[in-house]
Symmetry: C2
Subunit: 278 residues, 2 copies
């Protein structure tokens, strides 16, 4: 999916919500555990409930790989289902890959040819030749880690060089020699608040994928105040806050799905308010 189509979806749905499909079998409603593929069954329920309120889905590979072959089959089924039944939703594989050139080429084939997702998160540490193989695909996106939402982001990402440029700023500027705002986005954690102002100085036109709203404590309003641009330029992710709205034992499947939808709708409505300010 290209930028124009993504932006069109955002303004049609009045939402820039991305739903993180990070399934934890310990937390999903018990009736689903009896299904042949419980992860996929849960995802289908979540996708059906949230599709009207979001523009993107982001399965994190860690949550599939940990169940071995079965988990990877659930991942494949989920991607197939999305592509068939919800073709206007943007699909991000959150895998944080990155390796030497010939190996990144293999990862690129996997995600952009085999799974055929729209975007892949990539780690920048290994530099140009670890990122470029992902950029040769038309209408596919690299989402490069810049300033992440976690506490450990302070360990290296904020390190200043001799000129006072912080590492995440160097990642933002250097990577613009490899890709552009039509094939590259950046991960910036919602927990980084006012730092979005600094991000926008270096990457004024790029889309940002923003995790960390909800469970991790980031503020949607703050993200929008400092990070939103003319065509929105934001995809804000929520995973745990939407997927697990209530205790799995306290409600039946129908009620659970309704609450999942409600959580997504609440975020969509906040986003609609923010989009009106444009």
């Amino acid at each position: 999916m290209n930028r124009e189509e993504l932006v069109k979806q955002i303004f049609a749905k009045k939402s820039f919500l991305c739903v993180g499909l990070d399934v934890d079998l310990k937390k999903i409603p018990e009736p689903l555990l009896k299904e042949e593929d419980p992860i996929f069954a849960f995802n289908k329920m979540v996708i059906h409930a949230t599709a009207p309120y979001c523009v993107a889905y982001k399965p994190n590979l860690a949550f599939y790989e940990c169940y071995g072959i079965k988990g990877m089959m659930a991942f494949e089924h989920t991607i197939e289902y999305l592509k068939t039944s919800y073709p206007t939703h943007f699909i991000i594989a959150d895998a944080k890959r990155g390796d030497i050139g010939n190996t990144s080429t293999m990862y690129a084939r996997t995600f952009f040819e085999e799974y055929n997702v729209d975007a892949l998160t990539v780690a920048p540490y290994m530099g140009e030749d670890s990122v470029k193989p992902f950029l040769v695909y038309e209408d596919k996106w690299v989402i490069l880690l810049a300033l992440t939402s976690n506490k450990g982001s302070h360990d290296f990402q904020l390190t200043e060089d001799k000129d006072g440029t912080r590492l995440f700023e160097k990642v933002l500027s250097k990577s613009q020699e490899w890709g552009n705002d039509q094939n590259m986005m950046y991960v910036v954690g919602a927990t980084q608040g006012k730092m979005f102002e600094d991000i926008r100085k270096v990457a004024p036109n790029h889309f940002l994928l923003v995790p960390g709203v909800g469970a991790q404590g980031g503020s949607l309003q703050e993200v929008c105040t400092y990070g939103m641009i003319k065509d929105c330029g934001l995809l804000v992710n929520s995973s745990r806050g939407i997927l697990y709205p209530c205790d799995k034992t306290s409600c039946d499947l129908h009620t659970y799905a309704t609450q999942v939808a409600q959580k997504a709708q609440e975020l969509q409505q906040e986003m609609e308010t923010e989009l009106k300010k444009l």
Copy 2:
């Protein structure tokens, strides 16, 4: 496997060779393509041929993931085969993972509980909480990217902070607050030559996993001159140089396997010479 056992193997075999199991179906001998699981069949041949000359195996996940479920089954079979038939060989999953704490915990379970490998390569960009979940397992190892073998390593890893400390040096020193030389190694590319001297100033006792000898052009002798320590402290990896010793069409399976063994033995003999200098 703990450090003591690994060192014992190195001196028993007079080798610190790690064989990278990066299978490319386009390059393997044609008779193997008829097997039910050609990747696993190729790996078994390579392992059988090289086991006397190496102490470790390192499958890179990119080369398995790219074949989807079949690829991941080949990966599982390879690990099982190694653990059953070659239990004294050290197994490294080269996956370069790393994510926020709860997600790294999932990756740690996958590789250290499900696959039960000895070590996993991890990317440092996201800092402490992305690395620590891998360090809670007894006799398991994080192999953290420090100074990689590729050209892109110059983009960020060599960036100097205000005090002149380069990013890879900061990764080396900071990460020693999280782990120690019994559960953490570092990736340092063989192509970095004299930089091993600088590495040893910050990490004098850690094992280093060294890719880049052979196809990537690094010198084994230089690595040893500047990087070897009392108990060796090196695992030098070769993948393409061993796996593809001749054109797949020009020799039969037996000859191919013999040449794989020869390539591994040549490296082992060079290593024996280096170990004698200790």
